[in-house]
Amino acid sequence: MDSALALHRFHFAFTITFHYVFAQLSMGLALLIFALKTAALRTGNERYNDAARFWAKIFAVSFAIGVVTGIPMEFQFGTNWARFSKAAGGVIGQTLAMEGVFAFFLESSFLGLFLSGEKRLGPKLHWATSLLMFLGTWLSGYFIVATDAWMQHPVAYSLKANGQAVLESFWGLLFNPWVGWMYVHNMIGTVVTASVVVASVGAYYLLEKQHEEFGRIFVRTGVIAGVLSSVLIAFPAGDRQGKMVARFQPATLAAMEGLFTTTKAAPLAIIGQPDTEKKRLDNPAVVPGFLSILTYRHWSAEVKGLDAFPPDQVPDNIPLLYYSYHIMVGLGTAFIAVMAVSAWLLRSGTLYRVRGWLWVLMLMLPFPFIANTAGWMTAELGRQPWLIYGVMRTPAGSSSQVSSGNTLFTLLGFMGMYALLAILFLFVTHREIEHGPESPAKLPEHVPGSSASTTF
């Protein structure tokens, strides 16, 4: 692989991975903030409003980073992937522009209103702005997933003689058969992230014995949303997406599962390291026949292995793809287990007191981010060696006149810039979490030496 291409690929991978850490948190939190605002409106309990206001602050910071790291994503289609853009812009530019026009304006405008208009708007209109924020962020997600879906499974287009793709059906593009389950799977993933973050901060408060009333609200909210989302993401969403991959990208499925040879009653590998030279899985721990069942609902069904495809048709980084997929599935299974136990403890009324389990909840914080990242890596590494599946190979899409030196220059620049963003984000969210969600109005007035002086 020539070095400019490798750098273009890593450039995009790095910037999108960083961007999506914040985008997933924003999208998931948007739903939970809406849920908290709804609870506040229905019960009249002001604590829910305080909680919503607190998470809106975290949301605002995350959203701001999402915006400033999101603009480079759109630009990079042109800067680093010019030949791809020239060929595909007439099709996927459509969904990208729709994101800007319909979703992005909605989110950013109503976020400003949500943050600084609570008093002027009154409870009902303020609730409505939280709904619009939620709709905006989730609509954004749809257009982006629809864009990716076209690269995974190009539909509704025809090719001109010069290799340019021309859109044939607008609705065909928007309702690409690939979009539905991928969108559901992805969006539930963002809810898992937000649920774990909310529950984790709540557990921290309870363990620290500070802001305990909010600690209980956060743990309860996070666990209820978490148990629902962690189950739904596996079944039906993940299961259905897996079947879609099996149907449209069989070589990808074989690489994800580390299945080197075509097998009847194919086993499901739980752990193991793919050895692409000897074409086998080292140190495997497998469940016999389970892959056939998962894929075809039949014990003895034949699953195609990597040997069934020509070498230039299979993903070019099989080990990374295999690990990404297994990390996603492994963590997803762990989330179901942890959330199910938490929900059971919540029901029995003991969750807030079981310190050992609160530790588990608190330490879960980074893992949904890892799982979501691994999921996207599975999708995009699985698409290789194609940039547009079956139509354009990845090396044919990069900007031919942007040299590796210039690409490395900007990659290093983004790394420095994003390191700064990460530090600032951690610093600010840490401060907000320590400060807690108490509304200033509720604090006792003029208590000497109280924490009220830290409000601003």
Partner: protein, 347 residues
């Protein structure tokens, strides 16, 4: 159909510059017009609820350009690789400075973020101007419609020019003063007390610089890009665009002198829209001129997407943008009037 989309892209870009222009400009001038922390917070509050939304216009303009003229998007974005990346970094720094300033307490970091905000805003204005200068001057397109420009070579606008030569830097300076003026007028209209008075005084001075630079740049443009005077001669109705810019410029100083801040600000909007549309009208039907043989120029015809795609997009784009205009208007009205510091609110 291509012409319709050419106009729509131009309108979106003009919308971006007019809207994000005033918060860029406020960033440029805020160190001068606001000296204390509370004055600076007041200036920030005047743009606080809207700057994010204004920046979205850039995304919308980019997205619209992408699907309507994919050939242009591919060629220009990869050719202007380095300046675009610099613009992205400046946008990031600027967003960070606005967003994180209020999360920092104490006298150490706030002035630092203020300086970052001002510096990034100023450089963005110059780069945007230089970008426009490049579009007017032309770039060395090859037969397949590609080019790559270094940031600078020897600063002369010949066929081996970089992004920055004396002409594009001159356009960059004009953009800098134009947006600084735009921001000063916004601050004058949205604040009261000392920041308002300082902004009013500043805008009188900037007006002279802006007018001088406009004359110089116009002269230089006619010399460097003969396509523009030719366009105007062939379609004289196009003089309406430079006339709009001049009328805006004239009305601006008229209202500045009468201290009618809002009217002066609207004049500035007209002036900016007039300048941009003049340039855009001048290059039409080209979208990117080649200075290495005019036969390589990118035009609306050889860069546009398929006609079905352009047609169907009209159906969602126009209602979508009307919707955007409607709730932008709602939000601007909601935050209308002078900005006030209110300790209990988030900004």
């Amino acid at each position: 159909m291509e012409t319709v989309w050419f106009c729509l892209v131009a309108i979106t870009i003009a919308g971006y510059v007019v809207l994000d222009g005033f918060d860029l400009g406020a960033g440029i001038v805020h160190l001068l017009v606001a000296r204390t922390d509370s004055q600076r917070r007041l200036v920030l509050k005047s743009i606080g609820p809207v700057w994010d939304g204004n920046e979205v216009w850039l995304l919308a303009a980019g997205g619209t350009l992408y699907f309507a003229f994919p050939g242009l998007y591919a060629s220009s974005f990869s050719g202007f690789y380095l300046p675009l990346m610099v613009v992205l970094w400046l946008l990031i720094l600027r967003g960070v400075a606005i967003e994180f300033r209020n999360h920092m307490e104490g006298p150490l970091w706030r002035p630092f973020f203020d300086a970052v905000f001002a510096g990034a805003s100023a450089l963005l204005a110059i780069f945007y101007g230089a970008a426009l200068g490049n579009v007017i001057r032309g770039v060395p397109l090859d037969a397949s419609g590609n080019f790559f420009l270094p940031l600078w070579t020897d600063f002369t606008p010949g066929s081996d020019a970089g992004i920055l030569d004396w002409y594009t830097v001159l356009v960059g300076l004009l953009a800098f003063f134009t947006l600084a003026q735009h921001g000063a007028l916004w601050v004058a209209a949205k604040t009261d007390g000392l920041p308002q008075h300082r902004a009013q005084r500043l805008s009188r001075g900037i007006w002279w610089v802006m007018t001088g630079l406009t004359l110089i740049v116009t002269g230089a443009t006619f010399r460097i890009q003969p396509h523009i005077p030719e366009s105007l001669a062939a379609r004289p109705w196009g003089y309406v665009f430079p006339a709009l810019a001049l009328a805006g410029l004239g009305a601006m100083i008229f209202y500045i002198r009468r201290e009618e801040d809002w009217k002066a600000f609207y004049s500035s909007c007209a002036c900016i829209a007039g300048m941009l549309t003049s340039a855009v009208f001048g290059v039409y039907p080209n979208v990117l001129l080649s200075n290495a043989g005019p036969e390589h120029s990118l035009t609306i015809a050889n860069t546009a997407a398929g006609s079905y795609s352009l047609g169907v997009a009209l159906v969602w784009w126009i209602p979508g943008m009307l919707l955007v205009a409607a709730y932008s208007a709602f939000i601007y009205r909601h935050f209308g009037g002078k900005a006030r510091l209110d300790e209990e609110e988030a900004y």
